[in-house]
Each structure stands twice: as C-alpha cells, then as structure tokens.
Amino acid sequence: MSADRGATPAIDVRDLTKHFGGRKVVDKVSLRVERGEIHGFLGPNGSGKTTSIRLMCGLLTPDSGSGTCLGFDILKESAAIKRRVGYMTQKFSFWEDLSIRENLAFTARLYGMKNRNQAVEAAIENLGLAGRADQLAGSLSGGWKQRLALAACMLHEPELLLLDEPTAGVDPTARRDFWDELHKLAARGISVLVSTHYMDEAERCHKLAYIAYGRLMATGTAREIAAAQGLHTLAVHGTGLSALAEALQNAPGVSQTVMFGAELHVSGQDRDALLSAVRKVADAHEIVETETGLEDAFIHLMNQAQDNFKAPS
C-alpha cells in the first residue's frame, strides 16, 4: 500500500457534498491535485473553498462523495492524513498566549517529532525570528503571524500543504517571498492546494480550480481556463472609460466589462458583434484585440454562476 502510495495523486476527491443547516455549501466538488503541483483554489467569498479544504483534511465529514488524500481514504483514514498534511487555517489559529518558540515546540510534540528541538530552532532561524522567538504570538503583526503559521504547519515536513488564503492581508514583498518559498517546496515534491483572491498568485499556480456557489466551475491551467470561456476581449484605451463601461454594459454582443486601471476590457463570445458594439460607442478610443485574461475569465465564470445558481429572492 505505502509503496505505491507515492504514485497516487496528492488529492483525488469526487463529488464531495456538504450541507450546513439545509444550505448546500459544497456541491459535488471533484478535484485532482498531482504530486509536486501547486494548485490554486479560487472563487468568491462564501463559495465553499474553506469547507472543501476542511473536507479534504478530515476536519469535516462530507454528506456524500469520496476520495483520497495522499492515497488515504478521506472518510476512514483521516488520522493518517492528518499526520502527513500541513493545514494552514484562514484565521490565525495558533496560541496567542504562547511565544513563537512555544507554539512551534507544541506543534512538534503534537506531531510526535523525534528531532524536536533541532526542527524548532531551524524553523525559527528560517523565519528570521531568532531574536524574537520568545515574543508572544499574539503580539506579532499580521505578516509575521502568517509566516509563523506557515512555519508551524511545515514543521512536521508534510507531503501536502492545504493553505486557506495564506496571504490575505500580507504586504506584496512578503507575498512574493511566500510564493518563492512555495515553489521551492513544490520543486521538492510537496503538493500544495492554496486558496487565494489574488490574480497574480493565481497566475503563479501550476493549475487552478474555480468554485462558485459550492460548485466547481472550471479546472486547468490559467491558459486553459481563460481559453475555455470562449471569450474575445478588446482592450479600450482613452478617456471617459467609466462612462464607456456603463454604456457597454447591456450592449448586444457584450457579456462583461472590466476596468484594469487605464484600460477597459470588454469581452463577448461573438467577436464581430463585440467589435461592432464597441466601435459604436468608442469612436474616439484606441481599440486593441487582446488575449482574454484570467481575471476576465473568472469574472465571466462568476457572472455565469450567479445566473445559474442564485436563489430567487
């Protein structure tokens, strides 16, 4: 079993479904994450990302569906999964009244690590917190808390990392460092499932999954997902773009408009209809046909999901 376990995908779940109080939070989600892959998990707030992650690491029991994590059954072998998975919660969940070193040492004990002291000291060194290791975790800033949490969930050298919005509220430099670290881990064969709201982060993932209203809307590489939407996108430059966006909102052939700073992206499925619609209102503007980006694709997916599943009020 353990010999061929290395050949199994890091995550392979099918049709996971979970209700909370009659509300379907996760609806038949199937996901496959290969070993050594960084898999981005995207979707609007409340779309079921956190619940899906919790289902995969045994923190929640699915109402239906099945699957494996690192080759272990998520329903029956959650103890084995927990020993091999590092789970970083969305909200900081370490002990604020323990110091950095105490938190790490406690975590090391929970995972029954043998070379505990070395591992803890190495983690502190890596964090660059050697001078502040005795500071209480509660007194750390958001960025440092996030780094501590990552260090703690990496301590027992997990084979799979489940990271729930690990970079929310973290400054850009720290985010970049964090992602460099993730790629190093992936190169060593560690698999990562990471949920995020940032497009730049999504683009750094090997593969992506987009979830909305509890349903998996799309999976694949960033390019595949963008292409799969069948969208043509025009980038409009010039002045008065907000008014232009307003005017194009309900124009025939236009499915969405997205502002990107000094640029307005107008997308639609029919290229000719799109062009004529934009030309009609944007006569004084520069219009360039551009590749449909990930953000365009996600906004398209979200609008679709809203149309399909939004409960009539």
Partner: protein, 396 residues
Amino acid sequence: MTPATPRSSTFTALSRWKVLTPHFSFSRWWGMVIKELLQLKRDRLTFAMIVGIPIMQLVLFGYAINSDPKRLPTALVLGESTFLTRSLEAALRHSDYFRVFAVTDEAGARQALALGEAQFVVSIPADFTRRALRGERPALLVEADATDPTATAGALAALSGVVASTAEREFTGPLARLRGVPEPFAVITHRLYNPEGLTHYNIVPGLLGVILTLTTVMMTGLAITRERERGTMENLLASPVSPLEIMCGKIVPYVLIAHIQVGIILLFARLLFRVPFAGDAVAFYAGALLFITANLGVGVTLSSLAKNQLQALQLTVFYFMPNILLSGFMFPFAGMPAWARAIGEVLPLTHFNRVVRGVLLKGNGWPEVWPHLWPMGLFFLIVLTLAVRFFKRTLD
C-alpha cells in the same frame, strides 16, 4: 484509483470509534500538558482566581455562616429564689452561650421572645427546689426561638450540660443521693435541635470540597470551549492529537493547581478555625486526588458539550447546585429523602465530604476512606468516557 466505498452505518460507527481512540501518545499528551501550564502561567486572572476563591470563600463561609453562635439573649423567669436557682442562674451566666437577663413573669418573657429580644426563655417554676430535693425530678422549661434552627442547636446542647453540672455541684453531702442517673431534674425543650450540630469543625472541612468543586469544574469547563472560541481548536483537530490526549492533557495541570488549593484551604482552616487533622494524611490525599480528577473530568465533559464559554459557565452552575444541596454539605445527608440520597451517593462531593470529615475530625485512615475512593474513581471513568464520546472530532 480507489473504488467508491459504500458507507454502511455500522461501518461508520466502527471507524468513528477507531478515530476517537487511536493509540495514546505520551509525547502528544505531554505537549498538551506543557502548553496548558504555559497558558495558565500567563493568565493572571485565572491564577488570581485559583488563589483568591479558596481564601475568600473560606473566610466568608467560615465566619459569616456561624452555625454555633454564642452569647444568645436569654430571658430567665425565676419562680422562686433558692440556692439551687441561684446556682443555675450563675452557671447560665458563666456559659458562653447565654447572655442572661432576668424577667419577672411569663408574659414579659414571651414578649421578649416574640420581639426577638430573647432567643431563649428559661423558666424555673415555683416549688422547683423543694420538689428536686424530694427527688421528684421537676421540669425546667426552655423555649427556643425556632426561626433559625441551626443557630440554637449548640446553645441547647450546652444548656443540658449546664444543668447537669449544676446538679453535680450542688447536690453534695447528704444530698448526694440525688445525683446520678436519672438526673434530679428534667429539661424540657420545646423544639428538637439539629442532630448533626453544625459547627466550624463541620462546615470548614465541608467547604474544602465545595470550593474545589466550584473551581475545578469551572477551570476545565472553560478549557475546551476557550480553544473553540479562539479558533485554535481547528488547529488541534487538524493535528493527530486524540480527544483522550487533549482531555488528559488539560486535566493534569489543574490536578496540581487543585492540590495547591487543598494546601491553602487546609492551612487557613488550621490557622483561622483551628480545625484539626487527626487522621491518615496519605489516605486523605488519595481521596483528594480522586475527587479532584473526577471534578476535572466533569469540567472537561461540560466543556465538550457547551458551544461557548458562557454555556460552559452555565453548565458549571447547573452541576454545582446539586452538589451544594445534596452532598451533605448544607443539609444532613441522613435527613434527606431516599431519591435525594441516591443522587447524592453518585456525586463525588458526597464521598469527599465524608473522607474529609472522617480524616480531619474523626481520625480515620485507609479502612474508612476506601469505601469512598472507588465510587469517585468509577465516576471519573464514566465521565471521561462520556467526554471522549461527546468530544467533536470534527468541526461539523
């Protein structure tokens, strides 16, 4: 590819049990213990509570609930004035229990009793001395204010002693034939007094168990809900630590702390109330250990049932009430109806009260303590099983 597994309900139940009780890891458990101790060290308020509550309760209960008050106002109605009545009056005046004032007639005495000016009326009828000398055993009437039954118990007991010793003293020489059993005169009291005769010696050892119940159940009662409220439970649950390890890990630090409390209470009981420690200390500590562990188990169980810290606190109070009322701390155990005694027998406090009073006051040792140890141990095992059973292993 693993084939989809059908989930039969018995299978789920079995696997859930396996999940609940994986093999106990000493390392993980010890990790919990150390973490709890560190957190406790930084939680000043809890620490103050641990030291403050025992002392405060002991002083308040010990001094304020004085079930054996002294110098109670006593109206003396003398129907005659002889060597015997004068001697009785002097003896009453010398006793700590009575503050005697003379009233001329029965009506005045009644009024003093009704107004609360007198707690007792002692009436010596005319002819008392003559009949006593004849050996007719005349009656001496005592009327007690029964509104506070416990308050008068000690005084009433003392009264019999006063009377007996007066007889002893006065009937000498030719009158010596009147001494002995039966006594030369009877004391008729118009109320039965509390047979258990609550005293400091009784209430202070009882407080030991009451204080421990309150503090230990509350401390662990908050322990698990706190993790849940602060969001750290998610972290614990995502790790391989088992419910049993979490619970035992949370109990152990408080066992130490509760023993500190026992030390504090015993010290104050000795210093402030001069409560003796007559029996076997080892047997006592064995009882204390089991009692404390059982209560901590209750706290942990309530904690896994409660959704938040407030609920845990409410459940603590809910558990505290029957302990106060049915354990023999507040009311004599033997005087309770059978159903109340049955509940009382289950509670660790009932058994601990017997251990404490037995060891401290009666000088008991292992043979007397043992019958109360195993019920507490059994209670703990059952409670811990329930706690592990009800502990939510997931966030569902």
